[in-house]
């Protein structure tokens, strides 16, 4: 792993941004009983608030299901648009948190707290500064 590129925040402490990418089986969501869905929403809500209170939250979003995705590439110089996500895997990118933390160890602690680590996989990727 290349060393994450640290930079200094306004207080002179090192800070880095890390993307927490939540990959999960999105077909599980509509099959969940409503109580379980509400529970998951509550867990994400609490997690988001904890990040905000810690001053670590930069941005977060939940994405529409992968079926709404389109891919675009140039084929012989002409744009080609296809329906669906880039990779047809069972686990799809379903949302992300962009966080600002002093180091990767702190980022991994937040990744472990993310409810997504329980029902899917959380990928932590440092942002290139």
């Amino acid at each position: 792993m290349p060393a994450p590129i640290g930079r200094r925040d306004k207080d002179g402490k090192t800070a880095m941004q890390v993307m927490l990418l939540i990959h999960a089986d999105e077909s599980a969501w509509p099959r969940m009983p409503e109580a379980e869905r509400n529970a998951a929403m509550a867990a994400y809500g609490a997690y988001t608030e904890a990040l905000r209170a810690a001053g670590a939250l930069v941005n977060a979003n939940r994405l529409m299901p992968a079926g709404t995705a389109h891919t675009v590439r140039l084929v012989n110089g002409a744009p080609q648009v296809l329906d669906g996500p880039y990779a047809e895997t069972r686990e799809q990118l379903g949302g992300y948190y962009l966080i600002e933390v002093p180091d990767m160890a702190t980022a991994l602690r937040w990744a472990a707290r993310c409810p997504g680590a329980g029902h899917g996989v959380v990928e932590a990727r440092p942002v290139m500064a």
Partner: protein
């Protein structure tokens, strides 16, 4: 599993650290000793099923590993004719007494917690070197990648080798001076293991094993006994923190029958021996707090006034914000919710506990009992957001019945 591989497994569990300590003391390099021992275990797995398990499996393994190390030394010696290498070869050539392989594991533990080993590597190093756990298994509990943990361990062993550590036991005073770092690292290993539910929290059990080794090899050191007592108490209750459906059960709701009485009795015996040595300290007080909780099995109640006194002593000795948090909770029980809540609020101003999940869980509980509904709700959500364990998170979000 065949009888032979079972015997190899058992030998591994019981003797790994003892054999490694012996080899490291003679060969002066942990990494080389580990390689030699791994080869010896591989040879055992290959030959024991065919030839039968030897009478003295430990001595067999030691002889095989010793030969490996000697071969390596001879090769290096002919290349460099280096004086220290020759001296190590002479030490290794001494035939060990098969019935009395001396137990050097305390020296090995002291080497793992030596000042030249970076702090974050000390606990993982003990788990690997003394118990033979692999880096990947250790890594997840400490929330780092297996590759990063592997590098950290390799670096630590190189530092120890470069420092010229002799893995010889220092005198009583030397042990006393360096033991606190060992005990801190074992405690850190337990804490990491207890919050890592993989294999049913097996890593916590391994850390307890380390504490037992330290207590057995330094029986005159009260804090070593205190740490073993503390971890036995915590381990005795760990399974009771889950009900049959997997929901989280806080200590106050745990039925004492769910606790492991044998472990608690062992803890009590250790703690009595520790107190008799007349050298009180942090781990003995912490163990004494757990011993008051354990007494609920007999008395049906918790003596919070006694716990408060113990936390007073701990706070005076350590000034730790986590101890101050626990003291505030005890104060709420012994001296009223208002006093406990006030203590918690002033602690909150200090900032060091802002990211500490148990602080917000305690705040949620005390504020709710004091009728401070809004404050309680905010703290409850904050605690849930900081939880790693889904069962604890569900409990805080009131998603599981309690």
């Amino acid at each position: 599993m065949t009888a032979a591989s079972l015997a190899a497994e058992r030998a591994a569990r019981d003797s790994y650290g003892r054999l490694l300590a012996w080899l490291a003391a003679r060969g002066r390099d942990i990494a080389q000793a580990e390689d030699a021992l791994a080869d010896a275990f591989a040879a055992a797995l290959a030959t024991w099923p065919r030839d039968g398990v030897p009478d003295k499996p430990e001595a067999w393994l030691l002889t095989a590993a010793r030969r490996r190390l000697l071969d390596g030394h001879r090769r290096r010696a002919t290349a460099s004719a280096a004086e220290p290498t020759l001296r190590h070869a002479a030490l290794l050539a001494e035939e060990p007494e098969p019935d009395a392989i001396p137990d050097h594991r305390l020296a090995l533990l002291l080497a793992c917690a030596a000042p030249e080993v970076e702090r974050a590597a000390q606990a993982p190093l003990m788990l690997q070197v003394v118990l033979g756990l692999d880096a990947a298994r250790i890594a997840s509990a400490f929330l780092v990648s297996p590759a990063a943990m592997g590098q950290r361990l390799v670096r630590a062993k190189r530092r120890i080798a470069a420092s010229g550590a002799r893995f010889a036991l220092p005198g009583r005073e030397g042990v006393a001076a360096r033991l606190p770092a060992v005990l801190d690292a074992i405690y850190a290993a337990y804490a990491a293991g207890a919050q890592d539910p993989a294999d049913g929290g097996a890593l916590a059990g391994e850390a307890l094993w380390l504490a037992r080794i330290a207590a057995a090899l330094a029986p005159e050191e009260a804090e070593a006994l205190g740490l073993a007592a503390l971890l036995l108490h915590l381990e005795a209750r760990r399974p009771a923190a889950r009900d049959t459906a997997g929901h989280y059960v806080p200590l106050s709701d745990q039925p004492p029958e769910a606790w492991d009485g044998a472990m608690q009795a062992e803890a009590e015996a250790l703690l009595r021996r520790a107190f008799a040595l007349g050298a009180p300290g942090r781990f003995q007080w912490e163990a004494a707090v757990q011993s008051v909780h354990a007494a609920r099995r007999v008395t049906g109640r918790t003596d919070w006034a006694a716990i408060l006194l113990l936390y007073d002593a701990l706070l005076a000795a350590t000034a730790s914000p986590v101890v101050a948090l626990n003291r505030a909770v005890a104060l709420a029980e012994a001296g009223g919710v208002a006093a406990g809540l006030a203590a918690l609020r002033s602690l909150g101003a200090d900032g060091r506990l802002a990211g500490y999940q148990p602080f917000w869980a305690a705040m949620a509980s005390l504020a709710a009992r004091a009728g401070e509904t809004a404050e309680a709700e905010a703290a409850r959500l904050r605690a849930a957001g900081l939880a790693t364990d889904p069962a604890v998170r569900d409990f805080l979000l009131r998603l599981s019945p309690s």
